[in-house]
């Protein structure tokens, strides 16, 4: 090797040149603009047209909702062009005046604190459930999915404060007692009688029956909240109630139907497939009509209108949920089933301990998406005369006190912002969960 630096007469360069920076036209803001906005004449034209459209849309929205908007006033006069003396945008006083109707419907004003309290408890229970790093997830989930629905019913509907709890506990005790007694009978049939099961089974059954009898006797009916009929519910309250009940009921229905669809028993499989395909093949609105008009015919006593709608929504979302969960079940490798069988687990344990936890974890994003879909579909209940947020908004338009050219647009802007905020948050959360659960496959 000849050392080039030692030889001054050499024509070769002695040291490696530092690379030059790339031309200014390829990096930095200019480079970005050239690559992403102006890469060819056609792209430049598209950029201009697109930017103009975007500017028009965003500006129209901002101009209407903020810049030209009216913020205070007592009636329509505040929002009329000729009274204000300029072209008026959104009429926010209309929204303030109708805010109660949009949120609660015709829920009595003096009882609205109950709705607020339910909402606060829901948020307090839900927020830690949604944040992965907060501990006590199991307790939190039991509280949210187990205790909260009873509490919410108690608060929103009213009636006795203690009774619903006693009823639920009583039925749970009866169920536990019966299962223990059946287990005892089976242990006897196999030979060794297990007296322990008999004792506790009989005890639980007795306690449960006692609790139910006490409720029947009306002993704890006294401390009670005044009943607010579901006819008086409305607005965002109904939207949230229908969506939440729908999704909570959809999970067990969906799990049962999904397992039924994969069952080896022909009758059960056929029934599950028939229910799923029948419900998925028709629009939600016909299911709602079915629940509203046909269900009362099939029952001895016609249930409350809200209950009928809830039944319809639950069946509908349950059928869709079944397909989501089936996808999760199909993604579980056969080895997991075989492993469970090799351990000697029976069917409920195999499903409950090994398969379902994995399958459900896989389809959490799907479940969140189902919830978004259900939240949007909730608007359809206004067609069967239940006033959700959208129904409340439409009712608000008819008030002559607020009739003005901009009332309609203000209502749409307000309801649109609420719907969008809820759905957008949920879809972001679904993406967040998806990324978090993706750890196994991420490299």
């Amino acid at each position: 090797m000849q050392n080039t630096t030692a030889n001054p007469s050499s024509f070769t360069r002695g040291e490696i040149l530092q690379p030059l920076p790339p031309p200014a036209s390829l990096v930095g803001p200019i480079g970005w603009v050239r690559a992403n906005l102006l890469s060819s004449p056609l792209q430049a034209l598209l950029t201009l047209v697109g930017a103009y459209i975007a500017y028009k849309l965003v500006w129209t929205f901002v101009d209407f909702t903020i810049i030209r908007a009216v913020w205070t006033g007592a009636d329509r006069d505040a929002c009329l062009d000729e009274k204000v003396g300029r072209s008026v945008g959104a009429c926010w006083p209309f929204v303030w005046a109708k805010f109660g109707q949009f949120m609660y419907g015709f829920y009595p004003v003096e009882h609205r604190w109950r709705v607020d309290l339910t909402g606060i408890i829901a948020i307090a229970l839900l927020t830690p459930l949604l944040i992965p790093s907060v501990p006590y997830k199991a307790l939190n989930a039991v509280l949210f999915f187990g205790a909260f629905p009873i509490l919410a019913f108690n608060l929103l509907y009213g009636g006795s404060i203690l009774n619903p709890w006693l009823v639920v506990l009583g039925w749970l005790a009866v169920l536990a007692g019966i299962s223990l007694l059946v287990a005892y009978l089976m242990s006897r049939a196999e030979g060794g009688a297990n007296e322990f099961l008999l004792k506790y089974g009989a005890g639980a059954l007795a306690a449960g029956v006692a609790a139910l009898l006490i409720v029947r006797s009306g002993m704890f009916a006294v401390p009670e909240l005044p009943v607010v009929e579901t006819r008086q519910w409305g607005g965002l309250l109904v939207t949230l109630v229908v969506a939440t009940v729908g999704i909570v009921a959809a999970l067990p229905i969906g799990v049962a139907l999904a397992l039924g669809r994969r069952s080896k028993m022909p009758i059960i499989r056929f029934l599950s497939v028939a229910i799923i395909e029948l419900v998925r093949g028709v629009p939600l609105i016909t299911v709602l009509f079915f629940a509203t008009y046909m269900l009362p015919l099939f029952l001895e006593r016609s249930p409350d209108a809200m209950v009928r709608v809830l039944v319809g929504v639950s069946i509908f979302s349950g059928a869709y949920m079944a397909e989501t969960i089936r996808g999760g079940l199909q993604a579980i490798p056969k080895g997991q089933f075989e492993g469970a069988m090799a351990l000697g687990l029976n069917y409920p344990r195999m499903m409950g301990l090994i398969v379902m936890p994995q399958a459900l974890k896989l389809v959490i994003p799907g479940i969140v998406n189902a919830f978004i879909g259900l939240f949007k579909d909730t608007t359809l209940v206004s067609i069967v005369a239940i006033f959700d947020l959208l129904g409340g908004m439409r009712a608000g338009f008819t008030d002559p006190q607020w009739a003005s050219p901009v009332t309609l647009y203000t209502g749409f802007a307000f309801a649109g912002i609420i719907y969008f905020a809820f759905c957008y948050f949920m879809s972001r959360y679904s993406i967040f969960v998806e990324n978090r659960l993706n750890t196994g496959r991420r490299r």
């Binding site: 906005l37 792209q43 598209l46 093949g281 015919l297 029952l299 949007k376 879809s427």
Partner: protein
């Protein structure tokens, strides 16, 4: 253990309690399910009979022959109030199909545009497509239908101040008016020519494919096909002495005269369905195109294919395999979502059926007919799309 064997259990097969035998167990469970089902059906039926008797409603489909006596704002086949409920329901069904077909057609086009726009190298275009998808997908469909109906179309001018495009199309509060084709005698020839043209075009295509597979020679298939499909009807039109004319709308003093008016309910419903479904189709198209590995495009380039041919011959066929199954669900969703027409009073199957239900109280029959119709539409659509899917699916080994 003395001899290292297990103690015999009474000889023969191990004894299992009968209720632990899987066969017996599955029989028991199915028996319970069946008994439950029979019980539910029995009690539902007996309650229904009692309730219907109390309400004095006769079951059966006899009511379909009775006079309907209500008006329908859009009919594809002639309608008068003296006609029967059955015909009214058929009109509703046809209106549903009309919205579904028109909606699917435009939603597919707009969806592909949105999907491709989201992948555009142009930042502004891809961001617009992104926000279009986000906003549309996160607002309820009924909200959007009402928005188009109440906020956009209702803000149109009165008929005398209609917006007009080239004097052919007019938009006002009462809908959109377009020229109406008038078919005179001899116009059937054009339809026949169109059918012949389509059949001939497909024959040419399969012939050209076969020839290319055998000899490698290419044939200008697209030009020939469009020539046949468009050219033959035009030739027939000229040959038959121009039997089709258009009835143009005339702007009168107060109203538009002539032409064919699309009622605002139809326009609002179609616009909302198209915009909504297109957002979902856009995402499906994007996922499909992204699923085609970039190596495929590069391989196409290294073969020296032009960009258009890479797209046509390599990327789109592979993307379609990913796109078709979810696209089918979107078509079905659009058809089912058209039932939201009842929210604005477009006379679709649900809306007309609802009116019949309110007048006659025949809830069971009407709801049964709805469900049967929707299920049939769903099955036909998915059978067709599955057939198409199996044609384009990847055949391995």
């Amino acid at each position: 253990m003395t001899d290292g064997t297990l103690p015999a259990r009474g000889g023969g097969a191990p004894k299992v309690a009968f209720f632990n035998d899987p066969k017996v167990r599955s029989l028991i469970f199915q028996g319970i399910a069946l008994a439950l089902l029979v019980f539910v059906f029995y009690s539902a039926a007996s309650n229904a009979v009692t309730n219907l008797t109390n309400q004095r409603i006769a079951g059966g489909f006899g009511f379909l022959d009775k006079t309907a006596g209500f008006g329908i704002s859009q009919t594809l086949i002639p309608w008068a109030e003296s006609m029967s409920y059955g015909r009214a329901f058929v009109i509703g069904l046809l209106n549903t199909l009309l919205v579904a077909v028109v909606g699917i057609f435009f939603a597919t086009i707009l969806g592909f545009i949105v999907g491709v726009a989201r992948l555009s190298p142009n930042w502004v275009i891809s961001k617009i497509a992104y926000w279009y998808v986000e906003i549309i997908r996160n607002l309820p469909l009924l909200f959007q239908i009402l928005f188009w109906y109440l906020a956009v179309l209702a803000a149109m001018p009165t008929p005398r101040n209609s917006y007009s495009l080239f004097g052919l199309f007019f938009a006002n509060q009462r809908g959109i008016t377009v020229p109406k084709p008038v078919f005179e005698a001899g116009s059937g020839v054009i339809g026949i020519a169109l059918i012949v043209g389509i059949i001939a075009a497909f024959l040419v295509r399969s012939w050209a494919r076969k020839r290319q597979a055998e000899t490698g020679q290419q044939f200008p298939v697209f030009a020939t096909m469009s020539g046949l499909i468009l050219g033959l009807p035009i030739l027939a039109y000229l040959a038959a002495g121009m039997p089709v004319s258009f009835d143009y709308a005339q702007q009168g003093r107060f109203n538009l005269a002539g032409g064919m008016t699309l009622i605002p309910e139809f326009v609002a419903l179609t616009l909302a369905l198209v915009a909504y479904t297109a957002a979902f189709i856009g995402e499906i198209v994007r996922a499909g195109i992204q699923a085609v590995s970039h190596g495929q495009t590069e391989a196409g380039r290294s073969l020296g294919l032009a960009e258009g041919r890479i797209l046509n011959l390599i990327v789109i066929p592979q993307a379609l395999r990913v796109i078709i199954p979810p696209l089918t669900s979107q078509y079905l969703n659009l058809t089912k979502n058209s039932s939201l027409a009842v929210g604005i009073g477009y006379p679709d199957m649900v809306s007309v059926g609802g009116t019949i239900l309110n007048q006659t109280g025949q809830a069971m029959e009407i709801i049964g007919m709805w469900m049967a119709c929707y299920l049939t539409i769903s099955i036909v659509t998915s059978v067709f799309m599955n057939w198409y899917n199996s044609r384009i699916a990847l055949v391995e080994r």
